[in-house]
Symmetry: C2
């Protein structure tokens, strides 16, 4: 199953050519493409510029009483839109500038451009990539009330009715769910996790506008220290004197094959003349489907991987990417890549079938395994990003370790399926030596052990913003 | 019903502002944007440059024996792909360069870009608009046979097995129909006319490659003289010393409201300093759904409109646009506009709900009526084209003629629905004086009169390429 792909030993080998994408020389990338961000609120310099030239940080400043004033205003506003889990995650994403140059939930013009072109035109006329709609739904009664009042500002509140943000200069437009789903996923088959979670029962209207968030979104789940904003990541990369940042997204445990891929990428970047390439190991932390390994378990596993020296902490930054997951394959992988530009990454590693899953009804993968990589390499607005595709690798039974797959001695390699790996962990059996660091494997075994009732029968709990 | 919209009195008024789209001054458009095409085979100069810089004319030249050689080769090639009606229309479209810079049926890279971005990147790295897939399907047996033989060239043949073209440097890739339909139409509801006609029963693979057509596609239906190629249109515009070309697409009869719109556009362009704006009245001539008025009737009606002086033949070129119709709304209108750039048009008139129709299952329009206009104005690769949206107009009962709708005296206006108009024509009744020229109305009445059995019960015959 593609949903388990990144989990597996069936992972790819880095195919890093001597030339970066689209014929730029590596030196040009290092010397010419790394301009300091112009944004007044963007604190870190020396890295790839954010989309649109500045990071859109939309949290009210701590100084000057703006937070208190905004909280008072939000409490008094006549119209309140309640945020669900996924909407709160989008407020988080928007507030930190992952979706720069978006200033809030999409208005119709941005929504249409995302749906039709996977890119929006900035104020300067240039295209920036924006492949998934970041939208907020309201129902018909809310729309009528807001429109009847002529309001231009609404409060966004959490599930306890506490103000989270204010949306201003609002625009309300139709939410054609069928068209949105078809153009985002390339199917409207029932059972798409994000659709079930965030679209199917949402309102028939969308409300866009400029977002101002009262205070930083926190989840109080013991993982907030990993939730670094793009500005914080840029600061960290600058502090480390990174001259290249390569991002790797996972929503699965890190096995030694992933680690090999990441260390090999750094080695190659060094060979090409970079002095200090830094890895952004960046697991997705928002909504995932019920059978994905929960974030807390994954983070515990990642900690072990660094503790046990499988990855070098000196050249690795582990942080959480707060976006919810669409499982929209070639469409979504663009979002994943684009968001990392805003965090300062100028290299993006793309695997087999990124953001893919099984078709919810038919017995096949939803997307061609190589479409994500192809679409990513051609996407408007991602020209500045170097895409690093990687090839299949496996467990090398001759060397007793994870190794890049060598077709000339293919019988030496063992491909362990996701199902196989899960059943090993569930049965407290061990994978072959060298597949994953022992501490990391233990985390997995304990997780599956804790699953009562058996997997799939109930939805796993995940942290929700407090 | 939206499908009848252009048929109606419910048509739009030109909203031509003093400024062209995207802040260019009109003078700049006239003086700076009108470069001669660079293509060696593009014969007409002085007009907007074709997409990619040259017109892709893919018919073998008459001189030099190339046609005979190609015909011999095609007859001898081991693999033959049979063209249906719609595929033949696409061969026609491609052969004349409407889809420049495409050199043939799309390979996977172009297909993916069209689906995801509605634009493809040319050899120079620039985006040109390309919103609908122009593809050729083959079945599994054909794919296996071609791949087993290692062939790089296949013959395209008509339904009598006569060679039409050769496709070379071929690439075969998967035809994920569900994804193609979802991303093109924003729905996968059953009953989409193009899907039923050209996709539902087509093969599970697509074959792309460079096209070389043996001789110009002809239909021998008495209308071929109207099927002017982009190069022929450019010659005609140049012969007339056009300094602006504004295109208007219809797939319905021309009523006096349309005529008012077109003459008013010319007047405004003259006011803005153009010396000789020429109208390209350009009905769609390929596949249409069964309840659209057939091409032959429409062309007869258009002839009457010009004969009776409703449009000025001096400043009007009537020709047939050979593309089949997708009814894919905002996606398809981009194709309609882009193709006209290749024919030399630098202004494109866009109406209400262009290329729209009713949802095949639900009781609503498939697309928002204003999405086509919005998407067109934002589409990558159409920056050079001036989009002219127009507003609703109606029958002015005070002046007894079609007039731009004036909301300050809205009770004076009569909106005649499509259903009403059809029933008038069917019942041999007359519309209000001044709605349509008498000769044109007579053509319509005769057409509906000839329909036995009653409309909708059988598919209307249309010309198929001989």
């Amino acid at each position: 199953m593609a949903t388990q792909a990144a989990f597996l030993v069936k992972f790819p080998q880095l195919a890093l050519s001597a030339q970066p994408s689209r014929g730029q020389s590596w030196v040009a990338v290092a010397a010419g493409k790394v301009a300091a961000p112009r944004g007044v609120r963007c604190r870190a310099g020396g890295l790839i510029e954010p989309d649109g030239g500045r990071l859109m940080e939309l949290v009210a400043p701590e100084q000057g009483g703006r937070r208190a004033a905004l909280r008072r205003e939000a409490a008094a506003l006549p119209h309140r839109v309640r945020l669900g889990r996924v909407e709160t995650e989008w407020v988080h994403v928007l507030s930190e500038g992952w979706a720069s140059p978006l200033r809030g939930f999409m208005r119709e013009s941005e929504f249409l451009q995302a749906l039709h072109f996977n890119a929006v035109r900035g104020d300067d006329g240039k295209l920036v990539n924006m492949s998934v709609p970041i939208v907020l739904a309201v129902d018909d009664a809310q729309r009528r009330a807001i429109e009847a009042s002529g309001a231009t500002r609404v409060a966004l509140v959490d599930d306890h009715d506490r103000p989270v943000a204010v949306l201003s200069d609002i625009e309300i437009y139709k939410h054609n769910k069928e068209e949105r789903i078809a153009r985002t996923w390339g199917t409207i088959a029932r059972g798409l996790p994000y659709v079930e979670e965030a679209i199917a029962n949402s309102g028939d209207w969308l409300i866009g506008g400029d977002l101002e968030v009262i205070e930083p979104i926190k989840y109080n789940d013991g993982l907030d220290q990993y939730r670094l904003s793009p500005a914080q990541l840029r600061e960290e990369f600058t502090r480390r004197n990174a001259d290249a940042v390569f991002a790797f997204q996972l929503r699965n445990p890190v096995h030694n094959g992933h680690a090999l891929l990441m260390t090999d990428t750094r080695r190659r970047l060094l060979e090409m003349g970079y002095k200090n390439p830094v890895l952004l190991l960046h697991p997705l932390g928002g909504f995932t489907k019920a059978d994905d390994v929960p974030l807390s378990v994954r983070m515990k596993q990642h900690e072990k991987v660094l503790e046990e020296g499988v990855l070098n902490p000196e050249s690795t930054v582990v942080a959480i990417f707060p976006s919810p997951m669409h499982y929209a394959g070639p469409t979504e992988v663009q979002w994943h890549a684009k968001a990392r530009i805003n965090a300062g990454a100028n290299f993006y590693i793309v695997g087999r079938d990124p953001a893919g899953m099984s078709h919810p009804i038919e017995k096949r993968d939803l997307y061609d395994a190589d479409h994500g990589k192809k679409v990513l390499s051609m996407a408007p607005g991602l020209e500045r990003l170097n895409i690093l595709p990687f090839k299949v690798a496996a467990y090398d039974t001759k060397q007793n370790k994870m190794n890049f797959f060598d077709p000339s001695r293919k019988d030496d390699f063992l491909f362990i399926s996701g199902t196989k790996m899960r059943s090993l962990a569930k049965n407290r059996e061990s994978p072959p030596d060298g597949f994953m660091c022992p501490g990391g494997w233990k985390v997995l075994v304990e997780y599956y052990d804790s699953l009562t009732p058996p997997e799939g029968s109930s939805k796993l709990r995940e942290a929700v913003a407090a």
